[in-house]
Amino acid sequence: MATSIRSRLTLVGLARPGSTIEARWIVGHPMETGFRLDDGGQRIKQNIITSIRVRVNDKPVLDMVPGTGLSSQPYFAFPVVVPAGGGTVTVEWRDDRGDSGSTQQAFVLVP
């Protein structure tokens, strides 16, 4: 399902093959808990990301299952190991309304 929610992935540090660098990912998702009430006293429907998958060159490196205890516009920083030949990091997410999206970022290799 198409979504207007945007996310950004940044790779921090010198990407030497074999080294571990930090990836930072932020997504503009409301992460509505489902515990809040609107002005009319009606419960606001829950809308949270239910799964996040990180892959390096199509190899899964991190699976996350968020709950309601994450802030809105959730932010994650995690290590990724730079493969010998470089490549890309892909983050895919999916929420409980069926929205989904993905972000990609390529390693800029440093010899």
């Binding site: 515990f35 809040r36 991190l62 699976d63 299952v65 205890g69 994450l70 959730p74 920083a77």
Partner: protein
């Protein structure tokens, strides 16, 4: 599509497994609590002939949580998991609970790797904040995120290693305005 569904069900299964662990760990808490309930009347009922009631009451108070601690917080504490190799960077005073930064630094014991991490917020309406699984285990792991807290509490991080052992660390924080229920 089928692939995505399978992935999702895998993730859900992982959550179920942890949920089952959590329900098992609630049992020691029940036991501890009933022991506590018995211990207090014992200490109080003898009249003031001896000084032992005071000391026993102090001993009990020393080993218990504040009365408002949730069952999950008590059960986590009761498990007495070692916290070696886990460093949490968490603000002592966060003011608003909407986005509290947490940095986790895990160093696995010699010969082991980090397989999974779980962040629990025991005083939240839904304590499961985040579950992480590493398909490619690493020896050290540095992870940060931002949490939403409904009340002042200890944030718990449970780490699972490649041999199936668990370690846990917790860090307290004080919230002056709650998230989850109101505001943003």
């Amino acid at each position: 599509m089928a692939k995505l569904l399978r992935r999702r069900s895998l993730a859900l299964n992982a959550f179920k497994v942890l949920g089952a662990l959590g329900s098992l760990s609630a049992l020691p808490w029940l036991a501890a609590r009933s022991a506590h309930a018995q211990a207090v009347p014992k200490g109080v009922t003898p009249s003031s002939t001896t000084s032992s009631p005071v000391t026993s009451a102090a001993a009990v108070a020393d080993d218990t949580e504040p009365d408002n601690a949730s069952p999950l917080a008590r059960s986590l504490k009761a498990q007495r998991l070692p916290s070696d190799g886990i460093v949490l960077d968490f603000p002592r005073l966060a003011d608003t609970g909407n986005a509290v930064p947490l940095v986790i630094d895990v160093q696995a014991p010699a010969g082991l790797t980090v397989v999974a991490l779980e962040i629990l917020l025991p005083e939240n309406p839904n304590p499961n904040a985040l579950l992480l699984a590493l398909p490619e285990p690493l020896v050290s792991y540095r992870f940060s995120t931002r949490l939403r807290l409904a009340a002042s509490q200890d944030a718990w991080v449970i780490v699972r290693y490649s041999d199936g052992s668990k370690r846990a660390a917790h860090a307290p924080t004080i919230i002056t305005s709650s998230a989850c229920f109101d505001g943003t």
